[in-house]
């Protein structure tokens, strides 16, 4: 009797365990936990002072709001109109730069909220966060990469002002493509700067934002949990990035792959957790070529770090845990820095090629407009990313000075003029620059400098890559032989 009772109990236990296991395996949350958190969140509440009903301690809505404000700025920068006496374009850009959308009146511009091919869940910036703006988080240090001795935040405001008064945001006289300059520099001065020079820097020390206290009074997440989440939000990867290929992440940023984006299968893209932004997008663009793995390296380090913080269960992190966190920070920020450096490298190569096309246009007398348009776009990207690189925690002054000197404050124009400064009224001062040949040489040297100083692997648009390939093709291995 006892024996049959025991068997019956065992069967009941087994059925119960199987049911739990099955329901876990086939629910979305179950899938996440089954592979040991391949997705950034949900993570349980560990903050001991919290008594509310929340089950997930992950929070980075403010950072995604800033990603969307950055996207909007880039779009608006191309709407500059010198004929508008009300300065409406500038005012609108400043709104996205300065405003905290508590009232939920700031519409999301990019991605489009009316697309049926790539429908998004949120319509207003305020739906993600009502307390986030870009200006409050932009780098406050003096920028030597831009004329006028301005702080990072003032540089962006200066660019916004200029973009608003320039047709289409592109100043063909001075060579400034403001949509690119604003976008790329904001990526560095706000997103990268905040993550690596703030949240993963000071806030990952023992004394700052401890894990045994809430991030702020009444918060459901600890100091360390939220600091880590914020940095992840600035990185811009979808929470389920580890489940995607680099090409899928790239296509999500391009709004081309709804199926890959919609991880919870609700038919819409949650802009907080299912979208790829800014730096993560650039990482995916290099990774999809197969030589690098920036996106997943950084995202995995974020997930592993968050797991470690969660495992402390709301207690102060030990010395060993803090050391391990520093290891993750090192992986994240060095790879992130390399992604930006890869972009500087890539666009130095583009500018080199564009200058060749400008020489061709000068020779033939045709095709200058098309050549200039590409040149100014690529130079804007080059300059913006070079400035972004300087927004990190390390002041590599020698490298930065050389970069700034070689690319200058403005692109070398076909008449060999180049912006060299700004006067007291904010007008550009120009001088005669070097020859196109010399400027091309500067692009080569920029690429060479980056290869020396950063661990670049993708090296897209390598200006001397073709030459290296030719030498490889000749393939004379060193051997002692007579002729």
């Amino acid at each position: 009797m006892n024996k049959s009772n025991n068997i019956g109990k065992s069967i009941t236990k087994a059925t119960f365990v199987s049911t739990i296991a099955f329901s876990f395996m086939f629910s979305p949350v179950g899938l996440v936990n089954a592979d040991g958190h391949g997705v950034y969140g949900p993570f349980p509440i560990t903050e001991k002072s919290y008594n509310g009903s929340k089950k997930n301690s992950v929070s980075y809505g403010g950072q995604i709001a800033r990603q969307l404000q950055h996207n909007a700025l880039k779009k608006l920068a191309s709407k500059g109109n010198p004929g508008d006496p009300t300065n409406a374009p500038e005012k609108k850009m400043l709104k996205y730069f300065n405003t905290k959308d508590k009232a939920k009146t700031l519409a999301i511009i990019d991605p489009s909220t009316s697309s049926s091919k790539f429908p998004v869940k949120q319509k207003m910036i305020g739906e993600l966060s009502g307390g986030a703006n870009l200006s409050g988080k932009a780098d406050k240090r003096i920028q030597t990469s831009w004329p006028g001795n301005m702080s990072g935040v003032d540089v962006i405001k200066f660019m916004i002002k200029k973009a608003g008064k320039t047709k289409g945001g592109v100043d063909t006289r001075n060579g400034m493509n403001y949509p690119q300059l604003i976008s790329k520099y904001t990526m560095g001065a706000v997103l990268y700067h905040q993550a690596c020079d703030n949240y993963l820097d000071e806030k990952m020390t023992a004394s700052s934002k401890p894990n045994n206290k809430p991030y702020k009074k009444g918060a459901y997440y600890t100091g360390k949990e939220h600091s880590w989440d914020e940095a992840f939000g600035y990185w811009g990867a979808a929470a389920h990035t580890m489940k995607l290929t680099a090409a899928q992440s790239y296509d999500i940023a391009k709004k081309k792959d709804l199926k890959a984006a919609d991880y919870n299968n609700d038919g819409v893209v949650d802009l907080k957790t299912e979208m790829t932004y800014a730096h993560a997008y650039y990482a995916s663009s290099y990774d999809k070529k197969g030589k690098t793995n920036y996106l997943k390296t950084v995202t995995k380090a974020f997930i592993d770090g968050r797991k470690l913080i969660t495992s402390a269960d709301g207690n102060k992190l030990s010395k060993a845990q803090l050391d391990k966190i520093q290891d993750y920070v090192q992986i994240i920020c060095s790879n992130w820095e390399d992604v930006i450096a890869e972009s500087v490298f890539k666009y130095a190569g583009s500018v080199y090629k564009d200058l060749g096309k400008i020489e061709k246009a000068l020779d033939s007398g045709s095709g200058m407009d098309a050549a200039m348009s590409k040149y100014l776009k690529h130079w804007g990207e080059l300059k913006g990313f070079a400035m972004a690189l300087q927004a990190g925690p390390d002041n590599k002054s020698d490298t930065f000075n050389r970069l700034n000197r070689m690319m200058g404050f403005g692109p070398l124009m076909p008449n060999l003029s180049q912006v060299v400064g700004i006067d007291s009224s904010g007008n550009y001062i120009k001088d005669q620059g070097s020859s196109i040949g010399y400027y091309k040489l500067h692009m080569l040297k920029i690429q060479k400098l980056l290869v020396e100083k950063y661990a670049l692997k993708a090296k897209v648009n390598d200006a001397t890559g073709g030459m290296a390939a030719l030498i490889e093709k000749v393939g004379t291995k060193k051997s002692a032989e007579n002729d």
């Binding site: 020489e359 020779d363 020859s435 080569l444 030719l470 030498i471 291995k477 051997s479 002692a480 002729d483």
Partner: protein, 332 residues
């Protein structure tokens, strides 16, 4: 173990990479050409041809055995030296950067109907200039006493086989590596600057088109005992196997002749050409009488240093004596 694998890989590569002179395909083509030559031109039967081509007195001579040892030992030595030698890319980068700072030579930006010819132009130019620098280096190896001491290792061969090309002192190997790096670096940088991405090498089985044909048409017979000569007029354009064998001849009148590798025109221009007409080679080597240790491996490696030491000491001594003589004259 890894070291051993690397050696085996290098040996394998020499025989199975069509970019290499002793690639089996080129060796087979050299055998075929020899057969055809001996059968058709020299009217020999197949057995005679076979015995002539695969003469064991040649391939197992003391001289040939020394060649085989040098081939292996040099691979090991070059493995250590290679990392410190200047690369083609380093030279090409310096030249490429320099070209941006001058205005005499500018990139050609116009699209032309003849753009498809650029790779051929590049491939041929590279081959010709490579051949010219080989000629110059080779001539210098003979004319400059210190370099001759190094090059003598190669000329000490008494029998010639395709492997004799590896009977080379490592110092000479270093000189050739630098020559090759300089030529490739400069030519590639120059063309890449002018034509950009339009240039590429025309290759066959991965080897330069011109080198492929040069090797396929019997470059290995230069170092062989098969006397194949061309028409006299053709030997003023291309170096025949016989002409290179003349270069290895001990006869005084053959010394310092035929420095060219593919083209004879360099020798023709610089007055060092010797066609095969009315010339015959009796013996290969440096001197009539064989040196006791001339095929001793250690001697082959050390003798250039002894030779160079003697030259330098003699030079210093002569300078010293001259200075003393002058002092004596002034004093008196």
């Amino acid at each position: 173990m890894e070291f051993l694998t690397q050696i085996i890989d290098t040996i394998y590569e020499n025989f199975f990479d069509p970019k290499k002179r002793v690639f089996v395909g080129y060796l087979l083509s050299a055998i075929l050409i020899s057969f055809l030559w001996l059968c058709i031109v020299k009217k020999k039967n197949l057995a005679e041809c076979f015995h002539k081509i695969f003469d064991k007195n040649i391939f197992f001579s003391k001289s040939a055995k020394a060649d085989y040892f040098l081939f292996i030992i040099n691979i090991i030595i070059l493995m250590f030296l290679s990392p410190v030698l200047i690369t083609q890319l380093a030279i090409a980068t310096v030249v490429f950067e320099y070209l941006h700072s001058q205005t005499l030579l500018m990139p050609i930006n116009s699209d032309s109907h003849y753009q498809f010819l650029i790779p051929y132009f590049f491939t041929i130019t590279y081959f010709v200039l490579d051949d010219l620098t080989k000629f110059i280096t080779h001539a210098l190896m003979h004319k400059i006493p210190v370099l001759w001491e190094i090059h003598k290792t190669h000329h000490s061969a008494r029998t010639l086989t395709p492997i004799t090309i590896f009977r080379t002192h490592p110092l000479e190997g270093v000189i050739f590596v630098i020559r090759s790096a300089l030529t490739q670096g400069v030519v590639i940088a120059l063309f890449y600057y002018i034509y950009g991405d339009n240039i590429t090498f025309i290759t066959v089985l991965g080897a330069n088109l011109m080198s492929f044909w040069f090797h396929l048409l019997g470059s290995n017979l230069r170092h062989s005992h098969i006397w194949i000569n061309y028409w006299n007029w053709l030997e003023k354009i291309f170096i025949s196997p016989a002409q290179h064998q003349i270069h290895h001849s001990i006869k005084k009148e053959h010394h310092n002749k035929n420095f060219g590798v593919t083209f004879a025109i360099w020798d023709y221009v610089f007055g060092t050409l010797c066609t095969s007409k009315d010339n015959e080679v009796r013996k290969f080597g440096i001197a009539e009488n064989e040196h006791k240790y001339e095929h001793n491996i250690l001697y082959l490696y050390i003798s250039p240093f002894i030779g160079i030491y003697k030259i330098i000491s003699k030079y210093i001594l002569s300078r010293f004596q001259n200075t003393n003589k002058k002092t004596f004259i002034i004093k008196n």
